[in-house]
C-alpha cells in the first residue's frame, strides 16, 4: 500500500465559523455558482453538504460552514443572497444550532492492539458497520466535536482511512 499523500496540516474547525443553511433551486450549475462566488470573493468554505430538501425535487439544501475570519458574515450572506437561484439563507450561529456530521473510518484490527481499538470505538460511541479479515469500518454520527475527538483518537492508528461528510444543521428549539 502506498503512503498517504501529504495534504498539509489537518485543519480543525475554526473558532469563528458560522453555519449557513441555504435553500437553493435544484438546477444544473447552482453548486458551481455558489462555489464560484466563494472563490472569487475570497470567502473560505470549511465544509459543505448538499442534498435535496424536504423530498421535493425543486429545491436543495446546502449547508455551508463558512470561515467568518475570511470575510465579514454580512458580506458573505449579502453576496450569496444575490445569486438568483438562492431562495433563502438561514444564518445559524454555532450556539443557536443543532449540528451533526457523519464520520466513516476504516482501521486495521491487528491482534496486538485489538482490544485498544475496540475500546476507542466504544468510547466514542461509534458503531461497526463493516468487518473484513484484518480491518473494520466504523461510523459515528454525532456532533462535529465528537467527530473531531474520534479523529484525534484514531491518529494513533497506522493506516486509517477516514471520511467526514461535513455538517448539516437546524436551528435549536428554544
Amino acid at each position: 500500500m502506498s503512503p498517504e499523500p501529504y495534504l498539509g496540516e489537518v485543519s480543525r474547525t475554526p473558532v469563528r465559523h458560522h453555519i449557513l443553511s441555504v435553500l437553493v433551486e435544484n438546477k444544473a450549475g447552482v453548486l458551481a455558482r455558489i462555489a464560484g462566488l466563494f472563490a472569487r470573493r475570497g470567502f473560505n468554505i470549511y465544509s459543505l453538504a448538499v442534498a435535496p430538501a424536504e423530498s421535493h425535487a425543486r429545491f436543495s439544501r446546502v449547508t455551508i460552514v463558512v470561515d467568518a475570519e475570511s470575510a465579514p458574515l454580512e458580506q458573505i450572506v449579502g453576496q450569496l443572497d444575490k445569486l438568483v437561484n438562492v431562495v433563502a439563507i438561514h444564518d445559524l450561529a454555532p450556539s443557536d444550532a443543532v449540528e451533526r456530521e457523519l464520520l466513516l473510518a476504516t482501521l486495521p484490527l491487528g491482534d496486538d492492539h485489538r482490544s485498544a481499538t475496540l475500546d476507542t470505538i466504544t468510547k466514542a460511541g461509534a458503531s461497526i458497520v463493516d468487518v473484513g479479515p484484518t480491518s473494520v469500518t466504523v461510523m459515528l454520527a454525532g456532533t462535529p466535536g465528537a467527530c473531531d475527538e474520534l479523529e484525534r483518537a484514531l491518529e494513533d492508528f497506522a493506516e486509517v482511512e477516514l471520511h467526514r461528510t461535513g455538517r448539516v444543521a437546524l436551528p435549536r428549539l428554544g
Binding site: V24, G29, P72, E74, Q75, D81, V84, N85, A88
Partner: protein, 570 residues
C-alpha cells in the same frame, strides 16, 4: 400556434419591446437569423462581437432601456465577454443571446463549443442555458426582468442550436409569477426606522456632502436629487458613473470626486461630517487610502444592493432602497441640516483657490487636450451625448465637459475597458438618433475597436469621433513619468502610424486633422456641419500633458496633487 424556437426567440424579444439588436451571426445562432428577416427589430451588423456588446451598453446608458446583443457560440461568445464584464461592473442592463452547439454535443468539445454560462457566471447578474424551445419565452421574459430590476446588470441566454430548430407551442409569461424566479425579490420595503435615523443624522450635520453615484441615474432620481439638494442647500459631488445626474452648471455642484476629481469635491468629502451616499459604492478610485477617507464623516449609505453596505466603509445608517424613494422619504420628513453658511464659505474658498486649470495653449500646437474638449463642448448642441474610452482623455472629458442631464455621459467606469468609446457612441446614437453624439477617444483606445466605424457608416449612424492623439498610452505614460522615474516602458504608439485620416476615409467616414489652434476650430466647425456620415478628427495633442488633480494610487485624498500652476501657493 406552432413556432420554431428561433421564431419564438425573436417573437419574445418583440414582446419585450426590443427595437434594436447588435450582433453578428455564425453557425450555432444561424437559425435565429432567419426569422429576424421577418421581424420589425432592427439588426446592426457589427464587425467584431466586442463591438456588439459595447454598442448595446451605449444604447442602454443613453436610453435607460436594456441593450440587446446576439452572437454565435465559441469565439463569438468569448468575444463578447469583455462587454458583459464591463456591464456587470457598471450595473448596465444588458441581455446577451449566444448560440450554443446542439444539446447532444454539449460537453464533447464540439466545433465552436464553449461553456459560456460557466465563463460568465461571475460577470453576469444571472445566465441561462435554455434546454427546450418551450422554455424560450420564460427565459427571455426572466432575462429582461432580471436585467432591469433591482440592481441592473447583464443577463446572458445561451441557446443550443437544436433548441432554436425544434417546434414549440407559442406562449408568453403573463406575469412575474410565471418567470420561475423563486429566489429573486427585487422589491424592498423602505425601512422607515432607518430613514428616521438618517433624518436625525442630517439634522445634526454642519458639513454634509451628497455623494452621488451611478445608482442615482439607474433609479432615475435626478429630479428628486435636484429637489432635495436645493431644499437643503447641501453640496453635491457626482462620481464618474453619475455625471449628468446633477447639472454641472448648478452652483451647489462641486464636480467629480476621486483620483482625478476636482480639488473641492475631494476635499469637501475629506472634511465633511456627513456623507450621504446615493447609489455609490465607495470605489477605490473615489476613496483613495480607505482608512484616511473622510475620517470625520458619519455615513448614510443608500443602495438597492445590500451587499454594498459595510463592504468598504462602515455605514452609520444603511438604507436598502432605490435612491428616488429615499430622497422622497427624506423630503417628506423635511430632513434638513444645520446652517451651512460656514461650510459653503470654506467650500467656496477652495473653489476660488483651486479651479480646474491647464497650461495656456499655443497657436502653433501641440494642442492642449483639455482645450480641445472645451472647444468641442462650446460648439456642441445642447443635450449632446459624449462617449469616452478609458484613460487620460476619459478623465479630461469628465472634468471639462459640462453635463447637464442624465444619459449624456457614456463611459466605462468600474472595468476601465479601453476601446469602449467608439462602439458605445454608436449604440448611444442608435438609441438617441435625435442627439449629436461625440466620442472623445484616445489614440490607444481608438485602435482597439475603430473597425466599428465601418458598421456606423454602412448602417447610417453619423457619430463624431475626436481622437486626442498624443502618440502614447497616455495614462500609463503619466504613471511612468510620475512614479517610475520617467522610465517609459512600452507606451509609445506613434502619432502617424496608423494614418487616422486615411483609416477613417477607408471606413467611409470623413477624416480630418488638426495641429494648430486655427485648424482645431476649423475642423470642429466642419465636423458639426456633417450629419450624414461619421467624422473622425485626429487632434495632435501634447504628449507630456498630464491629468490633474491627482491622488496617487494608495495615497490619502488629503495628499491630492493639484496642477503645477497651482502648487506655488499651497
Amino acid at each position: 400556434m406552432q413556432l420554431t424556437g428561433a421564431q419564438a426567440l425573436i417573437r419574445s424579444l418583440e414582446q419585450e419591446g426590443v427595437d434594436t439588436i447588435f450582433g453578428l451571426p455564425g453557425g450555432a445562432i444561424l437559425p435565429v437569423y432567419d426569422p429576424l428577416l421577418d421581424s420589425s427589430i432592427r439588426h446592426i451588423l457589427v464587425r467584431h462581437e466586442q463591438g456588439a456588446g459595447h454598442m448595446a451598453e451605449g444604447y442602454a446608458l443613453a436610453t435607460g432601456r436594456p441593450g440587446v446583443a446576439m452572437v454565435t457560440s465559441g469565439p463569438g461568445a468569448t468575444n463578447i465577454v469583455t462587454p458583459v464584464g464591463n456591464a456587470h461592473m457598471d450595473s448596465t442592463p444588458l441581455v446577451v443571446i449566444t448560440g450554443q452547439v446542439a444539446t447532444a454535443s454539449i460537453g464533447t468539445d464540439a466545433f465552436q463549443e464553449c461553456d459560456i454560462t460557466g465563463i460568465t457566471m461571475g460577470i453576469t447578474k444571472h445566465n441561462f442555458l435554455v434546454q427546450s424551445a418551450q422554455e424560450i419565452p420564460r427565459a427571455v421574459a426572466a432575462a429582461f426582468h432580471l436585467a432591469t430590476t433591482g440592481r441592473p446588470g447583464p443577463v446572458l441566454i445561451d441557446v443550443p442550436k437544436d433548441v432554436t430548430q425544434s417546434m414549440m407551442d407559442w406562449w408568453y409569461p403573463a406575469s412575474i409569477e410565471e418567470y420561475d424566479l423563486p429566489g429573486y425579490r427585487p422589491e424592498i420595503a423602505l425601512d422607515h426606522e432607518a430613514v428616521a435615523r438618517a433624518v436625525a443624522l442630517i439634522a445634526e450635520s454642519e458639513r454634509p456632502v451628497l455623494y452621488v453615484g451611478g445608482g442615482t441615474l439607474k433609479s432615475r432620481a435626478a429630479d428628486e436629487l435636484l429637489a432635495f439638494a436645493e431644499r437643503t442647500g447641501m453640496p453635491v459631488v457626482t462620481t464618474l458613473m453619475a455625471r449628468g445626474a446633477f447639472p454641472d452648471s448648478h452652483e451647489q455642484h462641486l464636480g467629480m470626486p476621486g483620483m482625478h476629481g476636482m480639488y473641492t469635491a475631494v476635499t469637501a468629502i475629506q472634511k465633511s461630517d456627513l456623507l450621504i451616499s446615493l447609489g455609490a459604492r465607495f470605489d477605490d478610485r473615489v476613496t483613495g487610502k480607505i482608512p484616511a477617507f473622510a475620517p470625520g464623516a458619519k455615513v448614510i449609505h443608500v443602495d438597492i444592493d445590500r451587499a454594498e453596505f459595510n463592504k468598504v466603509r462602515l455605514a452609520d445608517v444603511a438604507i436598502q432602497s432605490n435612491v428616488a424613494a429615499v430622497l422622497t422619504a427624506f423630503d417628506a420628513a423635511r430632513a434638513t441640516p444645520r446652517n451651512l453658511d460656514v461650510w459653503w464659505k470654506t467650500i467656496n474658498d477652495w473653489r476660488d483657490r483651486y479651479p480646474l486649470v491647464y497650461d495656456e495653449p499655443t497657436a502653433d500646437g501641440p494642442l492642449r487636450p483639455q482645450h480641445v474638449i472645451e472647444a468641442i463642448a462650446a460648439k456642441a448642441a445642447p443635450g449632446t451625448i459624449v462617449a469616452a474610452g478609458v484613460g487620460q482623455h476619459q478623465m479630461w472629458a469628465s472634468q471639462h465637459w459640462k453635463f447637464e442631464e442624465p444619459g449624456t455621459w457614456i463611459n466605462s467606469g468600474g472595468a476601465g475597458t479601453m476601446g469602449f468609446g467608439v462602439p458605445a457612441a454608436i449604440g448611444a446614437k442608435v438609441g438617441r438618433p435625435d442627439r449629436t453624439v461625440w466620442c472623445i477617444d484616445g489614440d490607444g483606445c481608438f485602435q482597439m475597436t475603430a473597425q466599428e466605424l465601418t458598421t456606423a457608416r454602412s448602417e447610417g449612424i453619423p457619430i463624431k469621433v475626436a481622437i486626442l492623439n498624443n502618440a502614447y498610452l497616455g495614462m500609463v505614460r503619466q504613471w511612468q513619468e510620475m512614479f517610475y522615474e520617467e522610465r517609459y516602458s512600452e507606451v509609445y504608439l506613434s502619432a502617424d502610424l496608423p494614418d487616422y485620416v486615411k483609416w477613417a476615409e477607408a471606413m467611409g467616414c470623413v477624416g480630418l486633422r488638426a495641429r494648430t489652434l486655427k485648424e482645431m476650430h476649423e475642423v470642429i466647425d466642419e465636423a458639426n456641419s456633417i450629419n450624414d456620415v461619421p467624422v473622425v478628427i485626429d487632434f495632435r495633442t501634447d504628449a507630456e500633458e498630464k491629468v490633474f488633480p491627482m491622488v496617487a494610487a494608495g495615497a490619502s485624498n488629503d495628499d491630492i496633487l493639484v496642477h503645477p500652476l497651482q502648487r506655488g501657493d499651497r
